[in-house]
């Protein structure tokens, strides 16, 4: 997954901003309570922690953000926090579809 998304920083962010975002995120997901998230934060930080890493990521990054287009979107969505509920009409449509055996 895109390390900028994982750490929640903009592409133009500097070293200090990235480090701050990393430390804040680690505080919320310490390794003992959420080792998976902690590992992904570490990977993301290592990928963009300084200018050289960021250049390398921009030039040679080959990470595929998911196993399928929709999986990529879901993974992207998970990083944005809890999603907003859909519109009531969309919900009605979805539930009625679920009712069709």
């Amino acid at each position: 997954m895109n390390p900028f998304l994982v750490l929640g920083v903009q592409r133009g962010a500097g070293d200090a901003e990235i480090r701050r975002a990393y430390l804040d995120a680690v505080k919320q997901a310490p390794p003992e309570s959420d080792p998976e998230r902690f590992a992904s934060l570490n990977r993301a930080y290592e990928a963009i922690k300084d200018e050289k890493s960021r250049i390398r990521h921009a030039l040679f990054g080959q990470d595929c953000p998911g196993n399928s287009p929709l999986d990529a979107l879901v993974r992207h969505g998970r990083l944005q926090g809890p999603p907003r509920p859909p519109a009531f009409e969309a919900m009605k449509h979805f539930l009625r579809k679920c009712g069709e055996r």
Partner: protein, 849 residues
């Protein structure tokens, strides 16, 4: 007519959901006894109606329901009628019908839930109704609306009055799960949603939520989600407006049509491909980078599609061209095409500069990468045999030099590019350029240990010892704990002393050796820096080139400090050969080694000698080790005649890989240990490894390993069990051995099937075709071969009748040995000592060549 049999068949048909057949047969039975068989007829019709509704055949279902009305009580067909109304989009009728069913208290539990689902999904509650079911359904619907407008508290208030035993309890649970989900409490949401029955509407509606939370284990897999769940997931991800085409893209990807997926996404999104951090950017990332996760055949097709997109048709934007070029070049790096890479990577960099602005540091890193790829400095994932310790192939060395030069030009501070350039220049034997580059780097990066070390190494290589030592001293200042630097200094001092002695500057040479001694290591098994090693070199150099006054003292001290006399003499011999000149005279160390050491050889001493030999192998300034290797071989032979402990034997065997020059000695030690305990699984495994013959059938090799495994399991020797398992795995992965030109080719027809394993099976097959007298002769011959000594076999081989080819003799010998000690251990557990087969030995040598 057997009524009971007919009834059983109808029940079977109902269980198999063959509703029509069941209905037709039940009709016949009802004509005989309506009261008894009517429930079967009703069941068949209900099933048929449900199946039709499931297939959206509403009008056909209505006909069945109309028929049911003539047979069944109201509660049976009313629920179906409500469902039919729902399917036809008549929500008010569906709601009214469902409510009527729910108001009846005698309905069964499952249909009650289904009807409750229908009432909720109708999203219309008759205003006239004052029943509890109507109130609960209305509460559920309002709560759903409240959640959709993020009024979570209100939703909770609305569903609170719904009792635990209500037909709507799954909906209440689903709404609680939804609330927790949208409030960010994933654990709580998963708890509620996972408890829902999978076949209920809320249970099915929970699927996208569970997949989002990554908690859908055991439920429908992500790839198998129905389209409406995929659309809902896309909507949750914030792409509600594009959910339809995203579902289509997902399906194309699942169908293995990535290029069509790309086209669809490209046409569906206005700003595709974007580098933004929103979902569209992530989707663009996926569409491009999925190239790297595709299986090889699809990878090629997708790359070709990208290439065609750039070449054949105009791309949508410069941004798309830039992104395609990057991905194509990265993909090409796996199997570098120098010309393609250079042209397209430069195009990419030019476009990148135009779109994002020039940045020399990016250019420098980009060219450095190109150089590394062209120099083969990255591990190539392409399959192929690469001999161990060999240098990687350089796809385009000159192109690599140019790329590194461009990289350095763009950013002169790019140290990695400069070190890589130095490496490539070295590989191209352009040593002058490399030395100048390293010298300039040492000036430019005076505090970089690695640079100083490399520059020093080149100075020492060109015999500029003073300069090299100065650089090493600076490197040591940077890191006093790195043991490679003092070792490098000591080596440089030895070389310097040798050069000075050769030039007759003995005093300066002694000073150099004194400086080396200052860095002496305490460990006596450090064969480069230990005090005895330094003194030994000093003694040898003094004897060969010095005045010889202090030779005796130096050598005596070295001899006393050495870990053993054998180690001292072997090292002395190697050092002598290193420094000797034409008029040096005979080597005193080798002579003394032969005189003194062979008579007192022992396994532990042999281990130390092997370590010394290993230490010198591959050293840059090592002399020829042929004589030293011969000395060690003689020592090993002598040691094999002495007693040794199990540990000593193991230590020794660990230092001698199978197939190496000293493998014969290792086999002697193994045999000695097997003579003590013929069933010892560890030494049997070593025996297998040292004698393993690739021409033996895999089955017989596996048989031997299984026998060893059995014993290891009995003795609970876990490490041996693991090692045998590893050997068995290797056997499983073995390709078939190269064809062997057997004189028995005529047997290789389809009808010939050997009766046993390999050679022995063939021999049995031959024997079965012979008359009894010849068969007895053959058996006697095998018996004789089995019991013959090595010398007798050699003699027999020479005197064997000329009309019988030697290969047949060897096959007889192998067949005799197939019944040898490994496959048929003697009752006392002592295996008969094995003899190596001559044919096998010859093949092995050929194979090794």
């Amino acid at each position: 007519m057997n009524l009971e049999a007919s009834e059983r068949r109808i029940r079977d048909l109902l269980n198999q959901q063959s509703w029509r057949k069941a209905r037709d047969e039940a009709k016949e039975l009802c004509k005989i006894d309506r009261g008894r068989y009517l429930p079967l007829l009703i069941g068949a019709n209900v099933g048929l109606a449900r199946e039709m509704l499931g297939k959206k055949l509403v009008s056909e279902a209505r006909q069945v329901i109309a028929y049911l009305k003539t047979l069944a009580p109201r509660n049976v067909w009313e629920e179906l009628e409500a469902e039919a109304a729902m399917k036809s989009g008549d929500y008010s009728a569906a709601a009214a019908g469902a409510l009527r069913v729910l108001d009846q208290s005698n309905a069964a539990a499952a249909p009650l839930h289904r009807t409750a689902d229908q009432l909720v999904l109708a999203f219309q509650t008759p205003s006239s109704s004052a029943s509890a079911a109507a109130a609960q359904a209305a509460a559920i619907q309002e709560a759903l609306e409240a959640i959709c407008t993020e009024e979570y508290e209100r939703a909770a208030e609305l569903i609170r009055p719904i009792p635990r035993d209500s037909a709507f309890r799954h909906w209440k649970q689903f709404l609680k799960g939804m609330t927790a989900f949208h409030r960010g409490d994933g654990e709580r949401a998963a708890r509620f949603l996972l408890d829902l029955p999978e076949d209920s509407v809320p249970g099915r509606a929970a699927l996208p939520y569970l997949h989002w939370l990554g908690k859908a284990d055991g439920r429908v897999r992500f790839e198998a989600l129905p389209d409406h769940c995929r659309e809902f997931l896309a909507a949750l991800a914030g792409a509600a407006a594009h959910s339809r085409f995203l579902v289509r893209a997902e399906q194309l990807w699942m169908d293995g049509r990535p290029h069509e997926m790309y086209k669809l996404v490209r046409n569906g999104l206005e700003n595709f491909p974007s580098e933004s951090l929103d979902w569209a950017g992530t989707l663009a990332d996926f569409c491009l980078n999925c190239l790297f996760i595709l299986p090889p055949d699809e990878h090629g097709e997708y790359a070709d599609f990208f290439y065609g997109l750039m070449e054949g048709h105009p791309t949508r934007s410069a941004q798309e061209t830039k992104m395609l070029l990057r991905v194509l070049c990265l993909a090409c790096a796996l199997q570098p095409d120098s010309m393609f890479l250079q042209i397209n990577w430069e195009k990419f960099l030019a476009l990148r500069a135009r779109i994002d602005g020039a940045n020399p540091r990016i250019d420098s890193q980009a060219y450095e990468w190109l150089g590394m790829i062209l120099a083969g400095m990255q591990p190539s994932p392409s399959p192929g045999f690469m001999p161990p310790k060999s240098l990687p192939r350089m796809p385009d060395a000159k192109g690599a030099v140019r790329a590194f030069q461009k990289s350095i030009e763009a950013d002169p501070d790019n140290l990695e590019a400069q070190l890589s350039l130095a490496y490539v220049l070295g590989r191209l034997k352009r040593n002058g350029e490399r030395n100048r580059l390293l010298d300039s780097l040492a000036r430019r990066f005076p505090e970089n240990k690695h640079v100083l070390f490399l520059a020093a190494d080149r100075c020492v290589a060109r015999k500029a010892y003073a300069k090299g030592l100065a650089l090493l001293a600076r490197a040591l200042e940077q890191d006093r704990l790195d043991p490679t630097i003092p070792e490098a200094i000591v080596i440089a001092r030895y070389l310097q002393a040798f050069q000075l002695f050769q030039r007759g500057r003995c005093a300066d040479a002694r000073q150099a050796l004194d400086a080396a001694e200052a860095l002496a290591a305490d460990r006596s098994d450090d064969f480069m820096r230990s005090r005895w090693s330094i003194l030994l070199r000093r003694g040898v150099l003094e004897r060969l080139y010095g005045d010889g006054t202090c030779v005796r003292q130096d050598l005596a001290q070295a001899r006393a400090a050495a870990p053993s006399l054998e180690a001292y003499l072997l090292t002395g011999h190697i050092v002598w050969r290193r420094y000797q000149s034409a008029g040096s005279g005979p080597d005193p160390f080798a002579a003394e080694f032969r005189q003194v050491c062979l008579s007192r050889a022992h396994a532990a001493g042999a281990v130390l000698l092997l370590r010394i030999l290993d230490f010198w192998k591959g050293r840059a300034h090592a002399p020829s080790l042929d004589v030293a290797s011969g000395l060690v071989r003689d020592y090993l032979k002598a040691a094999a005649r002495q007693k040794c402990t199990r540990e000593e034997a193991l230590d020794l065997i660990a230092r001698i890989p199978p197939g190496s020059a000293h493998a014969a000695a290792a086999r002697t030690f193994i045999q000695a240990m097997l003579d003590k305990d013929g069933r010892d699984p560890l030494f049997r495994l070593h025996d297998f490894r040292y004698r393993d013959d690739p021409y033996q059938p895999v089955r017989s090799r596996r048989k031997k390993l299984n026998a060893i495994m059995k014993e290891a399991v009995r003795r609970k020797e876990d490490q041996v069990i693991q090692a045998v398992r590893h050997e068995l795995d290797k056997l499983d992965q073995l390709p078939p051995p190269p064809p062997f030109d057997s004189p028995f080719d005529e047997f290789e027809d389809e009808e010939f099937e050997p009766q046993g394993d390999g050679v022995s099976g063939i021999m049995k097959e031959i024997a079965s075709t012979l008359d009894p007298i010849r068969m007895r002769n053959l058996a006697e011959m095998q018996e004789m071969l089995r019991n013959a000594s090595e010398q007798e076999i050699r003699r027999l081989r020479k005197t064997f009748p000329k009309e019988i080819p030697l290969d047949v003799f060897d096959m007889l010998l192998d067949a005799a040995r197939d019944h040898g000690p490994d496959t048929d251990p003697r009752p006392d557990g002592q295996p008969k000592p094995r003899r190596p087969s001559k044919r096998n030995t010859a093949q092995k040598e050929f194979f090794d060549l």
